[in-house]
């Protein structure tokens, strides 16, 4: 089966300086040092790691928001690494992104209807206004929002509602995969549960492939099928979620798991 998202040996160096005639040249920092991964339909693959480990840079290269220095990015089997912005445009439908801060990712001056329907204008220009509106209403309903709120603006919604809007906006173009960058880390626990349940339902319904970027091990353990542990730009360990949690091999993975807060006061160390 073709992977919906595939990355082969991605590399990215930041801050490289060539200097004048090579004088004062600096090698720069390798943010991502050879990352390969594949996400298939209906599965959730999580990249875990701490700030600066390169997980978000990897996600941005996979989204083709950032050009890798080397390596390949494939969407639904098609190599899109060297595609121009124009050539990418029709393919962007395949892989959509949901961001951590739904407020920052929505245009504050656009109504919810226009924000959510934006993708349709690009990917299904044949639809007329009424058809777009019907699709938008349908998508909002699926994401647990009352379509009556379509005319409102982002600031009129709570964090959880805004994340629902962000998900509706991503899903309206019928993607095969979503890249979820810390989708619930800005939300309260009770809202987090609602959004995680929504993501799981939608995945089942549409057989979506999820690439989840997260530092939150409890979220990852709940929804991921496989985990990639990233440290200093490299994947240092990968495997089935249950396996990694039960038997972490790499020292860094052990450190990360040990840092997980306890569930009950009886489990305190001292």
């Amino acid at each position: 089966m073709t992977a919906v998202i595939e990355a082969r040996e991605l590399r990215k160096v930041f801050g490289r300086r060539s200097g004048w005639l090579g004088m004062g040249a600096e090698p720069g920092k390798e943010a991502v040092a050879g990352v390969s991964l594949a996400v298939h339909a209906g599965e959730t693959v999580a990249i875990v790691g701490e700030s600066g480990c390169g997980k978000s840079t990897t996600a941005r290269m996979i989204m083709r928001l950032l050009t890798p220095d080397s390596g390949r990015v494939l969407w639904q089997g098609e190599d899109v690494t060297d595609h121009s912005a124009r050539a990418l445009r029709p393919l962007r439908r395949l892989v959509q992104m949901v961001f951590q801060d739904p407020f920052a990712s929505l245009n504050p001056r656009m109504t919810i209807e226009n924000s959510v329907a934006e993708g349709l204008r690009v990917h299904q220009p044949e639809l007329n206004r009424e058809q777009r509106r019907a699709r938008t209403a349908e998508m909002l309903t699926q994401c647990g929002l009352d379509p009556a709120v379509m005319g409102r603006y982002p600031h009129q919604f709570s964090g959880g509602q805004r994340q629902r809007i962000g998900i509706a906006r991503a899903l309206i173009v019928q993607p095969k995969a979503l890249v979820l960058d810390e989708p619930v880390s800005a939300l309260d626990v009770s809202v987090q549960a609602q959004i995680l349940n929504l993501l799981c339902d939608l995945q089942r319904q549409y057989q979506l492939g999820y690439l989840l970027i997260s530092h939150d091990l409890s979220v990852v353990s709940h929804i991921a099928d496989r985990i990639l542990v990233m440290y200093q730009g490299k994947i240092v360990e990968q495997g089935e979620t249950a396996e990694i949690f039960a038997d972490p091999r790499h020292d860094y993975t052990r450190t990360l798991l040990a840092a997980k807060p306890v569930l009950h006061p009886d489990d305190r160390e001292a």
Partner: protein, 319 residues
């Protein structure tokens, strides 16, 4: 040590005063950690800030109630007494170590300033004290660190510096508002361990404000759960985890993702937290509660008395 008595606070929303904290009481004792836990907008940070009379110039009004520090009302303090109290007796650590330090001054000048603000020390003595404090918060090479700027430090190091500054005049009460929320997981646990060891060695009364039951489980001796401006349950930490009595506490603890099997739907709390100004007349949680009936909605519900307090007409069994 420090007693909060029936405090109610209002904030200004579009020109009108709206109550955001209602009738909150608790006591901080030396050597004890009280966790104030709740979701955003429940009033936990406003309550915490009131312990230092922060916010009163930023549109927060005290409707009634009092905060007593060793029996004295802090609202009766004049400016000088208040200045000595802040940092001297009661200190605060904030969530965002990035914004709490001034980026254009070295660690040395900021620490020395704070120390000399409270203690009658010369520059050299204050510097020596700063070094000692940095060692206390387990920072390596304190000598070099003093010459550095906040931007050169990691988030975890900055939070350690802020804890050192908070303790620079030997405060007896420490208020920590989400002290680890902005940090990486592996750093979080280390900062919590540091706070706990300092709290023990200095016999501090610690008020820990958090939204995270993991942090509560790691740190607290006693827990107060807030919902929509009120404490809805208060108990010793084991009692709370083993026998949550308020339906909200129970639901909040149940919806943590690490409690459920993988892929299984998480228990949810339907609806949304009512915002200040639109609190229901009776129990604030009634509209989202599976156990609610007409009695819950009829009139305000009081917090019960005793060791394990709950603000509920139909509390869960076993409490």
């Amino acid at each position: 040590m420090l007693k909060v008595q029936n405090i109610s606070l209002s904030v200004q929303v579009d020109g009108a005063w709206v109550q955001a904290v209602r009738d909150v009481s608790f006591t901080l004792q030396q050597g004890r950690v009280l966790a104030l836990v709740g979701e955003s907008g429940c009033g936990k940070s406003l309550t915490a800030q009131a312990l230092l009379r922060l916010g009163e110039h930023q549109g927060v009004r005290r409707d009634h109630g009092d905060v007593l520090l060793r029996g004295e009302s802090i609202f009766a303090f004049d400016r000088e007494r208040l200045r000595r109290m802040r940092g001297g007796q009661v200190a605060m650590v904030f969530q965002e170590p990035m914004t709490a330090l001034n980026p254009v001054f070295t660690i040395e000048s900021q620490m020395v300033d704070v120390i000399r603000n409270h203690l009658p020390l010369g520059k050299r003595e204050a510097r020596a004290r700063a070094l000692k404090l940095l060692a206390d918060v387990e920072l390596d090479e304190p000598e070099q660190l003093l010459g550095r700027y906040p931007g050169e430090l990691s988030g975890g190091m900055r939070q350690r510096v802020l804890i050192a500054m908070a303790l620079s005049a030997d405060a007896e009460v420490l208020v920590a508002d989400e002290p680890t929320t902005a940090l990486d997981v592996s750093v979080q646990k280390k900062i919590l361990a540091l706070l706990r060891s300092l709290q023990r060695s200095r016999n501090l009364a610690l008020l820990l404000v958090t939204h995270d039951f993991g942090v509560v489980a790691e740190m607290a001796d006693e827990v107060a759960v807030m919902y929509a401006g009120e404490i809805v349950e208060q108990a010793e930490v084991h009692a709370l985890f083993d026998h949550p009595a308020h339906p909200y506490t129970q639901a909040l603890m149940a919806c943590r993702p690490d409690r459920a099997a993988r892929g299984e739907a998480l228990p949810m709390i339907g609806g949304q937290v009512p915002s200040p100004g639109s609190w229901p007349k009776g129990c604030h949680f009634a509209d989202r509660c599976p156990r609610a009936d007409a009695a819950c909605r009829a009139q305000a519900v009081a917090l019960s008395e005793g060791e394990h307090r709950v603000r509920c007409i139909h509390p869960l069994e076993g409490s």
